[in-house]
Symmetry: C2
Amino acid sequence: MTAHHGFGATLVGLAVLIQRRHAQICAEHDLTPAQAQLLCMIKDQPRGMTELAQLMGLAKPGLSGLVDRAERRGLVCRNTPGYDRRAVTLSTTPLGKDAIEALFADVSDRLPDILEGLSAQDQHLFEHLVNAVAATAGVPLHFGGRGECGDRGESTATACGDC
Amino acid sequence: MTAHHGFGATLVGLAVLIQRRHAQICAEHDLTPAQAQLLCMIKDQPRGMTELAQLMGLAKPGLSGLVDRAERRGLVCRNTPGYDRRAVTLSTTPLGKDAIEALFADVSDRLPDILEGLSAQDQHLFEHLVNAVAATAGVPLHFGGRGECGDRGESTATACGDC
DNA sequence: TATTGTTATACTCTATAACTATA
DNA sequence: TATAGTTATAGAGTATAACAATA
């Protein structure tokens, strides 16, 4: 890498900035970031516990506890599909579905505010580059609205057609 | 903001990606991210508990516990300056200082790897934009190597002189 | 009275190990 | 035996409230 010394630390600072703002918006919706991530991942289809644990980068006991707390709050529910009596699938309740949709809209609205110090052109450029990094570096999960990892791999923001 | 719908969620995904990699590098150095942040903030000068709590965005009891654990591990030590017998200042031990310097070097080396899918030119551009966002949006703390918030505010990466 | 820092308590998140029930 | 999920236990991080000592 040709990055300047200290850039790694700046990236960490940026990540902290983003996550703090995200956590604050989550709190206004009475959700924790982990609950939001969980809801995000099952909002379109139910998933099994093992699959969820892998997607979220958690060990299974960690997921069990997270689900316990979310279930206690009426956000998700466990289902037992017929084909395997060991299995559990998790889906959102209507309350959980509403919560994650409202949160997603709010995050989409307000989180990009961190860029407001940039010119409109630079904001545009930054957005392209972040999308390229996210696509390339395998952004962990389905934080996006598109259900699955969006992976259109064009990284040449400098030569972006639709600008 | 003119950002596309879903971009806020992509930013969160990027933040998670960065923090996961950061946490992993911290773990290799036998530090938690919170301990790293703490050490980073006192590596050049001792600070009082109240000041530290404000800088780190923590309530004071949270900081007390963090310091307890770091002290137990020999990373920091509490000092009692003469001028106010209520006050406590915190400084690094030699062990703590070595640990944070080694970590910082490693983070600087390896964290920018997340950009390796971009062209060299786009990496450069991205670094400029991130620096501009960090300067503008007030990146929370002294994750950088420069001790205090670097705030050269030029945001026009597209017209950057030294490229 | 206001401030510095701590202790007490509680909850979320996460990890490892041991366990149950099913396949 | 292998897999799905849970329970048990532990520790880090964070919050609020109550407290101590000093200013």
